[in-house]
Point group: C2
Chain length 242, copies 2
């Protein structure tokens, strides 16, 4: 069902590959894994908890990494975007499926970019039958879903690991905190609620790493993706040539 | 944001209007309102509860009603389908917004078809800030969202009112119960979990009304929509000529 849905209602391919050959092959020979889109945590066969995420940023990053010469594995939650040609796409639904698919394909990955909006919590129990609305109130007990990003960053031979932080306030503090707590190599922070981010084609981000940071003005996600891939390639090379 | 999303990732128009002129004008001069798609009930600016619904059935019904000569108002939750040309489309997100939009446009409506998968429950409180995942568990208190379908059927000059029931088991019992409890003129029941329904192009439905019922074999939603509109027109005429 997921694979069908990913393909369904398909728009034009995520990015025009026209100028691809002209782009510098900054990631030639590198294996890049990118997670994208939301996850869905089932309450019952009909209802679920999810996050606002169109998948556009992750898909644009996948295309940009391909344009930079990388081999790309895209672990995707349910979205309505055509997957970039020549990426290996693994369709997932829940945070647990995303965790499993990531670790199944993580060997030999050089760079891991976690752009998916993964649910932090999932219902403690999933009902096999549709819950009837017989009561005026309903209580949902949620437990933590697995943290794929942190688990990858903690691997013995962890790839260069890039996280995302979507925050509504104190963006810089939370992003720097997440960078440190999860032992990431880089974090891309975007402020939710301005005229960009979820469901928009534009995005405004700040990027942080241990000893540096860079702010990007509002730009198309497709344009921004190429800039982020260039920065990731630069920091990746800096780490492994140091 | 909703309007943008409805238009976003747009596939081909919901149904080809090629043979439209050839279709019998069963609803000429009638005003039809259709609700379609899921609703989203915000937990915080990032997380929300929703239902599995692609909006395909509702959009196909809107096209079929247009093809039958009706004026169509489409109240739509967030979907990724191009709205049918010449329908009035009102984009909504939550069950409360769907309730308000429906009642704002309900005057003079002859036939109301509630194909939307409206959330029955919404979070008691919506946090203005993203809830931090500081705890191992989280408890959500949900309260009942407004029941637009029942509220329309109870109006003094209620339109001919058609509901939908998506059930995982005891489909017939629940559908007949809903028909009676909500004082509907007709109910369309589909079994969730077979190879049709959510996110699929096919659907298998049974239709019930006070003194009759009709089963439809598995069919494309676009084909099924025309059959359902013909049945609705027949039952509508039976009610008002009786």
């Amino acid at each position: 069902a997921i694979a069908a849905e990913v393909m369904d209602g398909v728009a034009a391919p995520a990015a025009a590959p026209v100028a691809a050959a002209a782009r510098p092959q900054l990631l030639a020979g590198k294996k890049v894994m990118i997670t994208a889109g939301p996850t869905r945590e089932a309450i019952d066969p009909v209802r679920y908890i999810t996050n606002r995420s169109s998948g556009k940023m992750g898909y644009a990053l996948a295309q940009a990494a391909l344009d930079a010469g990388a081999e790309v594995t895209l672990i995707s939650g349910p979205v309505n975007i055509a997957p970039p040609a020549s990426a290996v796409v693994v369709a997932v639904e829940s945070a647990q499926q995303l965790f499993a698919a990531t670790h199944e394909h993580i060997d030999d990955i050089d760079i891991f970019i976690a752009a998916a909006a993964v649910s932090d919590y999932r219902p403690d129990k999933t009902s096999a039958h549709k819950i009837k609305k017989s009561q005026a109130e309903m209580h949902l007990d949620l437990v933590r879903a697995p943290d794929t990003l942190a688990s990858v960053a903690r691997l013995e031979n962890a790839p260069f690991t890039v996280g995302f932080a979507a925050e509504t306030d104190r963006v810089r503090d939370y992003a720097r905190g997440k960078l440190q707590n999860k032992k990431l190599d880089m974090i891309v922070a975007n402020k939710v609620g301005a005229d960009c981010g979820f469901d928009y084609d534009d995005n405004t981000v700040d990027v942080y790493w241990r000893d540096g940071e860079k702010a990007y003005p509002k730009a198309l996600k497709t344009e921004l993706a190429h800039e982020l891939i260039a920065l990731i390639a630069e920091r990746y090379n800096a780490r492994y040539s140091a």
